[in-house]
Subunit: 395 residues, 2 copies
């Protein structure tokens, strides 16, 4: 696999950090998830549960091994030091400064392992006036400008339903981690390790695309336009006889194909719909004409006809339909993983495909501390030592 042989010590919990390490684990890295004895990652008890397994936890922690470790104890910290000595990557999502306070500042990490890549995922970045603020997806959606552009004009700002800033930060962190691994040996001081950082807020700011360009160039705020495109028409959701379809006529050629396919090409001869600027100005009018026509047939029939004509279009699918969609199944975007003793768990599949070293499910999400003995054994700890650590509640 692409990252076989890369060992990751994972101090993260909840979502952003675990998503980062899941992406690395899916590519073959050996991710050792450190959890507090007794409780572990709170997500183990969140979301939909079946047979004692959180399907949310299962999705984001597949392919990892779990080691319980009391990081408040000196003995626990000594175990972490041993893990760091043999690792390529340490991933953490504490508030900035906490890792240092725990006794693992840069100097200590360098002393333990100069080749270590330390990846931090946090709310706002580790420098600047908000570095110490508590972070949460909803807050980053508000502060990054995402909510302000999202939603309909005349209505309040709207968040994205999924915890987007967590996921985007995790994805950037995984990308940065692999770049840092590529950089080994290229650093000016000859060392191989370095710090990588991604944050919820910065990640979303980087995804504003033309909305940020418009604001930076013009100094004004983009309007909220709901499902309407800010400059193109026709574009949006149209109601068919049995549901809604999304149509994106992204340039004049596609507008012609679209109106041709629904037998409304004559609309383009009317002066009020002749150019994109005209159509955009008279959007309500052309949308009503289109919807009257689309309403005459079914979603299925239109999707087939429009795709045949090369018009980007699609059904607005609820998740239950998404997971039954033949394309999603062909792309193996739902995986069934056996959790021994707890039955099969379905999780979403691999979003990036490599044909030579494909992502694989090697392990289900781990039981809490399920690999404690195994991992400590690999560090050279013998059975009596492991038993003693267990007896004292360190692992």
């Amino acid at each position: 696999m692409a990252l076989s042989g890369i060992r990751v010590v994972d101090l993260t919990r909840i979502l952003a950090g675990p998503f980062c390490t899941m992406l690395l684990a899916d590519m073959g890295a050996d991710v050792i998830k450190i959890e507090s004895p007794g409780g572990g990652d709170p997500v183990r008890n969140q979301g939909a549960m079946k047979h004692g397994v959180s399907w949310y936890f299962a999705q984001f922690n597949r392919n990892k091994r779990s080691l319980t470790l009391d990081l408040r104890s000196a003995e626990g910290k000594a175990v972490l030091a041993d893990l760091i000595r043999g690792a390529d990557v340490l991933v953490e999502n504490y508030r900035p400064g906490v890792l240092d306070e725990m006794g693992f500042d840069q100097a200590r990490r360098d002393a333990l392992n100069p080749n270590l890549v330390t990846t931090s995922v946090n709310g706002f970045g580790s420098t600047g006036p908000y570095a110490q603020r508590p972070a949460f997806d909803f807050i980053a959606q508000a502060m990054s400008g995402f909510m302000a552009v999202n939603g309909r004009e005349g209505e309040p700002p709207m968040r994205a339903a999924p915890p987007l800033s967590d996921l985007v930060a995790g994805l950037y962190a995984a990308f940065g981690t692999v770049c840092a691994l590529m950089a080994r040996g290229r650093l000016a001081d000859g060392a191989a390790g370095q710090r990588v950082e991604a944050s919820l807020n910065n990640g979303l700011v980087s995804l504003m695309a033309y909305l940020s360009a418009e604001c930076l160039a013009g100094g004004t705020d983009p309007k909220r336009t709901g499902n309407d495109h800010p400059i193109m028409s026709p574009y949006g959701l149209y109601r068919a006889a049995d549901g809604e379809i999304a149509v994106a006529a992204s340039h004049d050629g596609i507008v012609e194909r679209f109106l041709g396919a629904i037998d409304l090409l004559e609309l383009l001869e009317r002066p009020e719909y002749a150019t994109n600027a005209d159509r955009f100005e008279n959007r309500a009018g052309i949308d009503a004409e289109i919807e009257a026509r689309i309403g005459l047939d079914t979603v299925e029939a239109w999707i087939e006809r429009l795709n045949g004509a090369g018009v980007p279009c699609g059904r607005v699918q609820p998740l239950t339909e998404v997971f039954e969609d033949p394309q999603i199944q062909a792309q193996e975007m739902v995986l069934e993983i056996d959790h021994p003793g707890r039955g099969p768990v379905k999780v979403t599949g691999f979003p990036v495909k490599l044909d030579g070293t494909p992502c694989q499910v090697r392990l289900p999400a781990p039981e809490l501390g399920g690999h404690t003995g195994e991992v400590l054994g690999e560090l050279g700890y013998d059975a009596p030592r492991i038993d003693a650590l267990r007896a004292r509640g360190v692992v």
Copy 2:
């Protein structure tokens, strides 16, 4: 830099592909953007323009070099073959099969360069029944299930305002590309090259987080909940005297800190607000109590007080405020790049920070074909040969 010495031949246009290659270029890769003579990437003429520069194009094409090339001509294809011989990565966002039809199928690419990583960004993946459908961000948002969970209950499904599926696909493609570079030499057949693929639709499906877990476990569709958290209260936007603030009280400890900070701790003594389940059921009531109190002071005052109490909260910032935000400035999330002869252009900054091999702006977004002579010279073409290609309109 992390990817110094990595050469990327970039056949992409618009957004998803160029975002992938921008991420690689920001990390130090030498990205050669191939554009058609005369026109080039359509984004050059889209979005906010100043002094002939699209600020949208500038944001997504910094750090790249531009080579014009007519890929319909045999001579143009020969130049592309020469570029591929010396490249580490080829990135393309054609519809599946088009690269093959152009004469660059897997066998040809292997013959030219067995170490080549070929990265494809497309709508639905290159296999399956929808592989040939035209794709567009809005369509992927509809088909992936994203729109169905986004928005308010009782209102239509809602897209995210930014072109999220393009950006997420580009980010996954960049991550997969670097993983494939890490994999060199690990492939079973001893070759170093392989194919990497990310798609608009699969990328968004992978970001549904607990919403997908809930659906896969229970077989039912999550409701649209607007800005309300699906299971927690209090949580949401509250109107202060001069604007709105976002508050996320993500567990009981934070609920106490929040209600304590706004002097409403006594609410927890009422039976209807005692537990999260009670508060969630009587959400309108507790939200009204909170809003009456929050309305008595300004956004600024509450933000300071709530952050002091450790409550995740933030101002709902429009983009103009985001780009003036002291945190965003401390994080250098707005960069000013000089475009010689066209003045300074502001773009968003680097979302992932590496302290040893930091991302840098080495080049502004290129003029169309601005590096044609330079790149061809590096391939060993002499001046008369380059002039001849120019004269025939090949470059």
